[in-house]
Amino acid sequence: MHEMSIAGSILEAVRTEARRFPAGHVQKVAIRIGGRAGVDPEAVRFCFDVLVQDSELEPLTLVIDFREQGEDLDLAYLEVEDGAAAART
């Protein structure tokens, strides 16, 4: 139910990070969801895809690492295309 606002928070983080790579494009963002986080991975994915569609972040894919144990909801990593990495100062 709150997966939409969680998806929104993920995109907010991607946008913040993306500012560091003006020349590149973020391809992938990975998160970790613990079984006790109270967050449904499939619902997050659905909301994420809805928000990304037709936005400047398209095509951005979400990688979810779901772990039975744990209560965390973490951002794990981003994958940025090569040109962006080269442009980093």
């Binding site: 139910m1 928070s9 983080a13």
Partner: protein, 222 residues
């Protein structure tokens, strides 16, 4: 393709706001509790019974969250303590920013106990820290013993479970011991009080728990 580690919480912005709230509560010596339950388990009723038992000189304030209506705030305002409704227009939980806004204009120095009633929902509120000292989960005997197993997150994160509507036990098949066992299976240290907001049974235990929280809060202060 370059991979860049992020390693922070998805809700780090909310966590930042919550940390700010927690610091303000600590500065003013406020005990803040976040009450969570399924819709209708008795959060407002428990707050009504709580407020009616307090002397008018007690420094208590209530923020109550709902998607729509001011009903709960109206029910709670009768007792003469400051009460504010947060209607969030559709969000299934309260977050740190809503609490910040809810507190605007209140003199925190005049508050010692801040009770927050979350939106009726056993799932989403568990992900949002509001800067509270503890979450309190209210569960009623009409909901079935298995709720702690079905919605483990909120039971895992709550310091206290209030098992409410005890007066209805004769009318519903509900095994109190099994419900408490399930809660402890998810969270072995969870404290439990049994109440009826109808007959007032067990309210003393809840109030004693509150008073303990208040005295510990004072002890923590510098």
């Amino acid at each position: 393709m370059e991979r860049l580690p992020l390693e922070r919480k998805v809700l780090s912005e909310n966590d930042r706001l919550a940390a700010g709230l927690r610091a303000r509560f600590a500065e003013h010596g406020i005990l803040c509790l976040n009450l969570v339950s399924a819709p209708g388990s008795g959060k407002t009723s428990l707050l009504e019974r709580t407020l009616e038992s307090l002397a008018p000189t007690e420094r208590v304030a209530v923020l109550t969250g709902d998607i729509q209506t001011e009903n709960d705030a109206k029910r709670l305002a009768r007792y003469g303590f400051p009460v504010r409704q947060i209607t969030n227009g559709g969000t299934c939980h309260l977050d740190g920013r809503m609490i910040e806004r809810g507190l605007e204009g209140w003199d925190l120095a005049a508050i010692e106990l801040l009770l927050i009633e979350n939106v009726g929902n056993l799932v989403c509120p568990s992900s949002y820290d509001l800067g509270e000292a503890a979450k309190v989960v209210v569960m009623s005997v009409t909901e079935g013993e298995d709720k702690p197993l079905k919605y483990p997150s909120i039971f895992f994160k709550s310091k206290l479970m209030v098992l409410n509507k005890l007066d209805l036990l004769p009318y519903v098949p509900f095994d109190v011991a099994a419900a408490e066992h399930n809660a402890r299976q998810v969270h072995p240290e969870i404290e439990i009080v049994r109440t009826s907001c109808q007959t007032r049974v067990g309210l003393e235990d809840w109030l004693a728990w509150l008073r303990r929280g208040m005295s510990q809060r004072v002890a923590v202060q510098v």
